[in-house]
Symmetry: C2
Subunit: 457 residues, 2 copies
Amino acid sequence: MTPGYAINKIVDALPSIKISIEPEDLVCYGFDASGLEGSPSAVVWPKDTGEVVKVMQYAWQNEIPVTPRGAGTGMTGGSIPLNGSIVLSFEKMNRLLELDSDNLNVIVEPGMINGRLQRELEYLGFFYPPDPASMNFCTIGGNVAENAGGPRALKYGVTKDYVMELEAVLPNGEIITTGVKTPKGVVGYDLTRLITGSEGTLAVITKIRLRILPLPEEVITLLAMFDNLEASGAAVSKIIASRIIPRTLEFMDAETIAAVENFKPVGIPGGVEALLLIELDGHPSAITKEAGKIAEICAALNAEVKMAEDIAARNKLWEARRAVSPALYNLSPSKINEDIVVPRNKIPDMLKGLRRLSEESGIKIVNFGHAGDGNIHVNIMADRSDAEKYRKAEALVKEIFTMTLGFGGTISGEHGVGITKASYMSMEIKKHELDLMKGIKNVFDPKNILNPGKIFI
Amino acid sequence: MTPGYAINKIVDALPSIKISIEPEDLVCYGFDASGLEGSPSAVVWPKDTGEVVKVMQYAWQNEIPVTPRGAGTGMTGGSIPLNGSIVLSFEKMNRLLELDSDNLNVIVEPGMINGRLQRELEYLGFFYPPDPASMNFCTIGGNVAENAGGPRALKYGVTKDYVMELEAVLPNGEIITTGVKTPKGVVGYDLTRLITGSEGTLAVITKIRLRILPLPEEVITLLAMFDNLEASGAAVSKIIASRIIPRTLEFMDAETIAAVENFKPVGIPGGVEALLLIELDGHPSAITKEAGKIAEICAALNAEVKMAEDIAARNKLWEARRAVSPALYNLSPSKINEDIVVPRNKIPDMLKGLRRLSEESGIKIVNFGHAGDGNIHVNIMADRSDAEKYRKAEALVKEIFTMTLGFGGTISGEHGVGITKASYMSMEIKKHELDLMKGIKNVFDPKNILNPGKIFI
């Protein structure tokens, strides 16, 4: 592939489309939240599907790699462009195109910010559950590409559970529409679910119809503070075993709490070894009863339980939760961030195993995440400036994944595979399954121009 | 393909496996609820995955078509074998292999009867929502293959929303495992969702891990009887618009009611033009309030509303609902049964359109189904014995599909494509999307031996 000549002509070849080849744009669009970097040769901001088609036709004819990009908040490098390639940025395709309140769905363009959609819907009495921690920045297109999760996944599922219909452009520039406008539909293979979570490797998403829900009547937010790490894990299991499905069941360990208190204080007292941020929604009397039961369970495990008294108090707790990732990066800018999931009753064992690995290696491991799902964000706090320690930290990743898979878990719960996990993929996905996936990729993208170098290596 | 010689040797070639080539078995396993028939050359009852592997290896080497079969309750001919082929029947692989109450999931073999799983789980305080009308006969394997729905899909989604992990055998005999044991997982393409609903054309499912839920605390069942068809459609829209999502919102028109009263009387008074069977579940005070609101909405539309006073009364109503399909077949054994879905606010227009088609053609059209989803089972009551009328009835199908698609709907909500809808598929699925699906089929099954002649023609 020698895209050099054609890429230099792209500005002339597509004169009606906003394209930059300026170095400052190429740098800004070359990195994302994974900390990785690439050097694209052009950044394109299409304003509609027709422009995406033109870009893809040009890329297809000239065999130039294309990387679609939302807000660049992905953790595994899914939006890192190949050197010399085209970045397709969806900042100008960010509108809410349709709200169908009778049939409970919306159509959005891929550049729509998740948090903006949330707020617009809430104002009208509707609810879009998926809420990645980066919701105030990340785009719905990126959410669909990565099949993003978030705290509320425990009760409400992840992005794929809300995608009804997709308009997308194939690598060769053909437009496809997948899925249905209705809650049910079984005509042919489920291309919608296949494209959702495919990390921009199968087709460029240009329109998304999402299922929405009525806004829950009431929300109760509880904070449970434990003096013992294992007790918090036991609380998670006991809550679920008591037949309560909260909408969130978030976990932070002592190191995470300290990092947040340092970065954005919320007043967690010293001596707290773990906390759970638990949120219930639904009918007021139902969730009041459930909240009481949860408080009992946590108290029996020696936790101190507080209820957020108003929206401001609730928002403060959630701001703290959403500040976890930046707070940890602030402590250790080159920390290694994993996103494992284990069956939820294996959380205490997994946390014990992580502590053992940390003690043996002498490297701090900090954990937080979606305990209700068994989804733990494991942060290996190493710094690139200490080369030997960093190498040791990288070696820990494989040990953590082995342990995770041993517990029946998965190496990526909501961050995707991208570049950073691609070399570990064969630990989880065996040869025949991987061959099927590669076969599917080849059906969609025989020239391998769409986000190459991701998922598969 | 000349499978004749090899198929005759299958009994000798696989001596440890239960196989029949007796005419009475070949007849019994040659038809299903679609009314279609095929003439297989062998019926195989594997008892474990290893035996499925052996059968598929033999079929692959000898290029013999194989049709996996659950209970044969499918409506579109998905389990009809090609002449000369092998039927793979899962009656002996029908066990509940594991119940993980901590992590809320079960592993079942494909031959497990849906209703049996429901009852075993309910007894233990758990809940598996998908409830096709044939639930007392149909298998979970068939449900997964067809992505079966049912009344409760309105609140709880369809089969695909519960499938976490699949073990399956590829056409060449290789075993694959797809999906994860955890609520989240984003490593690679979603093969689980791709196989779910693929109507036995991609892989033979041998084990299924299903998500389960805690059993809802309480259920309320309401029957609303309308003196006017359009009013029942308006009630559906108003209920959803009032932010209530019942677990079922079932619809029957006057003809359906008459057929059921004739077949299995429940005592619906004369003069009822349409009824809604509405079920709510959840916290007692929440659903009591919602039931009151629904009763108000229906009463304002001049309906008479009754509440089932006990479990016996509720079961009687549901038995009547589940008797609809047999009752209509009883009236007209060769009726044409469609399974369209329209956005739910288009139901009144669709029903009006169907009435117009019925009046113009002089052919009775009877409608019932899952109104909350917009999923209407349209029954064209024609008899094969009247050849000209039957031809006219078949011509109506295309008009009904055109109308459905015009309203933004789909031609199959939960019955699949199989054989009966294959020739209409291109009305809904356009060329590029169809090419992708065929490409995917070719990746899984390059010899086209797995359930050939289904979905694609």
